[in-house]
């Protein structure tokens, strides 16, 4: 039969010679190999000081988007919650009142919007399901927390800073997350 790779060799069953049985030479060879590793470059990324870049397709924490006038895009249609295979998203809809047009883009908005980051599998299906451009997966991940409750992210955690009223915070967030 033809070999699939060039990496397989027949086992050598020749009896060892005296020098091989002493092991010493082979041990010294092995020690030279490990010694040479002292001068090799370490692949370690020293994490908190030094961070590795995520790949461009990385799917991280969710953000709730706003339009260019700083209004929330989300209309609480619930398509993301339906699409979510981990059932991590819950929301409650509310109607926009008079005088709230600067806050919400359409007549209906999400009064409550929560994602349980412990359930979320970061598949990005919510992003795909959203018809209103409202939810995106960013390039950060959920930081550690002391309680399970701390992993339930509500609107305050998810909404990106307002473009108009809080431009510096947005720029900062973009700078960190980009």
């Amino acid at each position: 039969m033809q070999a699939l790779t060039h990496k397989s060799f027949a086992v050598n069953r020749k009896p060892m010679t005296f020098w091989e049985r002493l092991y010493l030479i082979n041990i010294i060879k092995g020690m030279l190999i490990t010694f040479s590793h002292m001068f090799k470059k370490q692949p370690t990324v020293r994490y908190p000081e030094q961070k590795r870049e995520f790949s461009p397709v990385f799917r991280g924490l969710h953000v709730l988007n706003r339009d260019e006038q700083g209004r929330e895009n989300c209309t609480a249609c619930g398509l993301c919650a339906v699409a979510c295979p981990a059932e991590a998203i819950t929301m409650e809809a509310a109607e926009r009142q008079e005088g709230e047009e600067h806050l919400y883009k359409e007549e209906k908005y999400a009064a409550k919007y929560e994602i349980n980051m412990l359930r979320c599998i970061f598949c990005g299906l919510c992003e795909e399901a959203c018809p209103k451009d409202a939810i995106y997966l960013s390039e950060t991940f959920a930081p550690a927390n002391y309680t399970r409750k701390g992993f339930i992210y509500d609107k305050n955690d998810l909404l990106i800073p307002n473009t108009l009223t809080n431009a510096t915070a947005l720029a900062k967030a973009k700078g960190v997350e980009a």
Partner: protein
């Protein structure tokens, strides 16, 4: 200073020396554990402990603190006194070896000549052997008193390994003693300092055998069968926790340092700095240089121990016994024979 027929200054001097040597040994041991982790890391292309303090230098203190803070558990079925005695005995036995190691030439302070050796016993090497074989009691007692079959099996392994390798070690030493003609470590080192070559030149095979046996005596990889995690869980110290476990782990490193010191003294000229004439500097400075030299030699040996540990995997038990009885002992006997023949031919 002579009261009740004792020279009290002598006793005080020795006490200070003992305290200094034991404390230094413990301190060096502390950093040997750190060194072990660093060496392992560097040989495996990783940075190793680097968080506690600059370059991770406070890591051993953190480790020690952690061990002390841990809950102390004595199993209800364990034999309590022996369980406590085990680690203490292991530690004591490994520290006792440092009594006969000549650290350097004499110091001259306050009009006294202070020998940098706790006790110049004229049977120094035999003393070392006696103490080293005591060390195995610590393991045996600890393993037996734990009342755990894995611990017991590991203790048995440790005992049989130590006994097997002590024979070859002793035979390798006899050859050395035949060429030096003395059992006192101080004389052996002094002979190497005064013009002769180091003993390793006369006894290369003997040194190799001694080195391998020392590694086996210290339970270091590739001879760490008593701690074989995959077959014996954790070995003889499985039931131990807190600082008792710390003592066992620590004793291993103390043993390593002590055997390095013994090997350096017997085969590599002890405190002798090569190509340097000690008589050109003041005696006290020469003594200090000697201490430094011996410490450097110890560090090199310890590094060698670690280097080997992180290179070769553990032997199988039958391989270990084969190596000990069928290779080491015949080789040591052969070495003895050759040495004897050479000495005879020179007469």
């Amino acid at each position: 200073m002579t009261l009740l027929a004792f020279d009290w200054a002598f006793i005080i001097e020795k006490l200070i020396l003992i305290v200094i040597i034991v404390l230094t040994t413990l301190l060096i041991t502390l950093y040997t554990t750190f060194g072990e982790r660093k060496v392992a890391a560097i040989l495996q292309d990783r940075p190793g402990p680097n968080r506690a303090g600059p370059f991770g230098l406070l890591q051993p203190l953190a480790d020690g603190l952690k061990l002390i803070m841990k809950e102390e558990i004595i199993p209800t079925t364990a034999s309590k006194w022996l369980f406590i005695l085990g680690p203490g005995l292991a530690m004591t036995a490994s520290l006792m070896t440092c009594a006969v190691i000549p650290w350097s030439t004499d110091l001259h302070l306050f009009g006294r000549t202070i020998a940098l050796q706790i006790a110049d016993v004229n049977i120094g090497i035999l003393y070392v052997f006696a103490v080293v074989s005591m060390g195995v009691y610590g393991i045996m007692i600890g393993g037996w008193a734990s009342n755990n079959k894995f611990s017991l099996m590991s203790a048995l392994r440790a005992a049989s390994q130590a006994i097997s390798y002590e024979i070859a070690m002793g035979l390798a030493l006899i050859a050395l003693l035949m060429s030096t003609g003395t059992l006192s470590l101080k004389t052996i080192v002094a002979d190497q300092v005064s013009g002769h070559w180091w003993n390793v030149v006369y006894q290369p095979l003997g040194f190799l055998i001694f080195f391998i046996c020392a590694m086996a005596e210290c339970n270091r990889t590739p001879f760490d069968l008593p701690e074989a995690e995959n077959e014996l869980n954790f070995g003889y110290h499985q039931e131990y926790s807190s600082m008792k476990l710390g003592f066992y782990l620590f004793a291993e490193y103390v043993n390593m340092i002590m055997s390095s010191a013994i090997m350096a003294s017997m085969y590599f000229g002890g405190y002798d700095l090569p190509f340097f004439d000690e008589s050109t500097v003041a005696p006290n400075i020469a003594a200090m240089i000697g201490v430094g030299t011996l410490l450097i030699k110890i560090v090199l040996f310890v590094f060698l121990f670690m280097w080997i540990r992180w290179t070769i995997p553990r032997f199988r038990y039958d391989q270990l016994m084969n190596l000990g009885w069928k290779k080491m002992i015949p080789l040591a006997l052969l070495n003895m024979l050759i040495t004897g023949a050479l000495i005879l031919s020179k007469l």
